[in-house]
Symmetry: C3
Subunit: 342 residues, 3 copies
Amino acid sequence: MPDPRFYHRAGPISAAQAAGIVGAVLPAGLDAAASIADVATFADATPRDAVFLSDKTHLPALAQSKAGFCFVAADLAASVPGHCAALTCKDPRAAFAMLAAHLYPDIAPTWGTSAVAPDAEIGVGALIAPNAVIGAKAKIGAGCKIGPHAVIGPGVVLGDTCIIGANVTITFSIIGARVIVHPGVQIGQDGFGYVATPAGPRKVPQLGRVMIHDDVEIGANCTIDRGSLADTIIGRATKLDNLVQIGHNVVIGQACILVAQSGVAGSCTIGDGVIIGGQVGIADHVTIGAGAQIASQSGLMRDVAPGEKVMGYPAKPVRQFFREVAALEKLAGGKTPKKTEG
Amino acid sequence: MPDPRFYHRAGPISAAQAAGIVGAVLPAGLDAAASIADVATFADATPRDAVFLSDKTHLPALAQSKAGFCFVAADLAASVPGHCAALTCKDPRAAFAMLAAHLYPDIAPTWGTSAVAPDAEIGVGALIAPNAVIGAKAKIGAGCKIGPHAVIGPGVVLGDTCIIGANVTITFSIIGARVIVHPGVQIGQDGFGYVATPAGPRKVPQLGRVMIHDDVEIGANCTIDRGSLADTIIGRATKLDNLVQIGHNVVIGQACILVAQSGVAGSCTIGDGVIIGGQVGIADHVTIGAGAQIASQSGLMRDVAPGEKVMGYPAKPVRQFFREVAALEKLAGGKTPKKTEG
Amino acid sequence: MPDPRFYHRAGPISAAQAAGIVGAVLPAGLDAAASIADVATFADATPRDAVFLSDKTHLPALAQSKAGFCFVAADLAASVPGHCAALTCKDPRAAFAMLAAHLYPDIAPTWGTSAVAPDAEIGVGALIAPNAVIGAKAKIGAGCKIGPHAVIGPGVVLGDTCIIGANVTITFSIIGARVIVHPGVQIGQDGFGYVATPAGPRKVPQLGRVMIHDDVEIGANCTIDRGSLADTIIGRATKLDNLVQIGHNVVIGQACILVAQSGVAGSCTIGDGVIIGGQVGIADHVTIGAGAQIASQSGLMRDVAPGEKVMGYPAKPVRQFFREVAALEKLAGGKTPKKTEG
């Protein structure tokens, strides 16, 4: 469920109201006045919360979930477990997004009138540079250094002795200790998520957080989107070079290295100790095993096994890549002598 | 002609003065005291304005133009229509740039002494966060939310209920309603344009604007350069992911999607509903038809037909790309078993 | 040696103390109380300073150096010249980094309580926009324009008539005259350098500067890391487009052009007049000769001769690249007609 430190719910809604708003049909026998408290992931849902089933691959997760309500397409409605009310609709993800937008009508951070909110907690020895802005109820750990024009959003938590550079924005985030964030980094803004609706593409409310563990370092002008409902997570001692993009719901393990200008699309899972070269692009929902290495500029569209080394566009085992480079060079008639160029 | 809300012209200049400054020759019979009021595009020029002809492909546009003066190379001077004075010179683009620099000697935005300029118009219910800076005569629509350290330049117009993130800079721009700009975005700075002159490369004054239509969303740390003379335009409901680069004079249609870290070089035209994948690079002056799809990491150097799907470096039809991938794999001796790698 | 305008040394240390901290062995006959004043490059070191030898390729540089102390692996200790004490250790780079961290325990810029430090020098006619922050002892040249929320760090020097955009951060840098820095640029933050230690990866203290010569222009949201010990240098009249990444210790010559989203990894050397296309990636320690051209999206992993034109991934001579493109197209059975796609 969305973290109440960041998201203010408009209040529960009856199943009948929800069905009306999103265009769903209640199951026979459900009390139309039954109250839906919140939107949630399968793992977090309580019997008062709603989830959605996008396709049958998530049926096992739904079976494990305690959710009391599930948006589902007609052909899968019969597969919804008995403890969960099937709210039948055409596009479950869109219905869920519309309910989320109704429950959380106003997500953008709000700012008071003073640069440092009176109810922000500033730890012992923390240094706040001129013109930094600290939002309501934010917690700044002991010994942190907050640079000029840094913006720490409402409710954000920073562990001890973090260094936050100038012109950084951090919202909707929980940050560990000794984290270094270089200037110009943007953390916690909306992920890039839309659903098709009869009225055209519609924004999916982004209700998750960014969790950054201890000893992480984030290079200048990186962007890290918050999760859509689950969290975007960066594991302990992972290092991001400059201008790296991390999409929503990405989970990165410990002690990884991501070189400059690499990009990780939404919902990827990256194991511990992975090395990702400069300008690498990773498609959404890819899983990379621990210790894998992705060479610079690779375009990765498939899962990578632990310890595997890949390269190319599309990325393939490094040896195969270089074998193909050599084969193509031979096919085309060998190398061009340098002196004929220019 | 440059929008007087943003650009302050030094005043008209005589044709003889202009010719002296840029090293052009006046046509026989032209009154040397004739006044040149401004620089302009072919489409916008009046009989008092000057344009330039870079090569003969623009002759039809010149024939349609009402321009009274045209910088032109000697070999094309005879092709200039009778209602337009041909100002002959070696490098018409450089001459035009030098005249523009003379007419607009000081382009950088100027800032007063108060963070919110007294003559800025702030709409009903608009929220201005601490430390935001609003320039002279800027107009902020009703219900807008302006984040901390956002900078709204002099003369900039924002429609109603826009959300502008922290650490955003917007200059030389006209923005529609319900536009969302995430933190760290830079909109309206100079495009990347230079001309060769006897004194070395010289900056071409950038005198256009950025026009962003309703319901656009711009991801964190994107950069959108203003037009050189015509405008950079982003159509209604188009969505940009993070770290996207849009060059000067680019025109993007409605409801397009540009995924993270893609880049569109100057003067490209992109139709409605185009999808551009992550880390795609598009060369300058390329035209992409409506509904086309450019796969992630593609390098696009040619026009794309409406509905066409391309991929690769250089980009080609998707099926052809994968046929080539398969052919090369076969040539090099098949796939490397994963277990031999690592 | 680190510039005292930016870095405050904790004081000299005895050879015995240093050896204890980093786990090195002093050579027989060295006075254990001998004082090590500082860390330095081979070129800058005095007899009171320490350097390190990572491998034998740097033996000639060490032979030329006046350094009095050198961290070195056991197998190369005998190659250290007589005027230099060989401090034997397992990982000389890590030992050097540990000593540097000891001598410079606190590198992050510090900020006073006023937005413009009382001891900053503001040149005649310089305009400081609202909310700009100028650090202690910074020098702003005559006629500079500093944008809103720009941050000029302690000790930074700007030449005359520079234009610094909004939301820019400049630290640890010496900037020439007439330099234009567009909004959102981050200059002078830590480079991306780590060493492996028994306690896991450890940050290498970054103790160099960024030197930007006259008439350089830097596009929006670029990132330029400062040197690790030597400087990152950008030569006169070089132009960077938006979102370009420059790693630590990179040296770029005069009048180069780097198009948007290109990235140059650490310690590259780029000659005068080089043109680097959009989204190019250049691996670390590559040397590019004067006048060379690197086509857009190339991945460059080797040196490039002066005037050479390369393209591709990995980059090769342009003609060879296109010959290979044609050969692969032929192998795969020719072009796919457009009408079968979409």
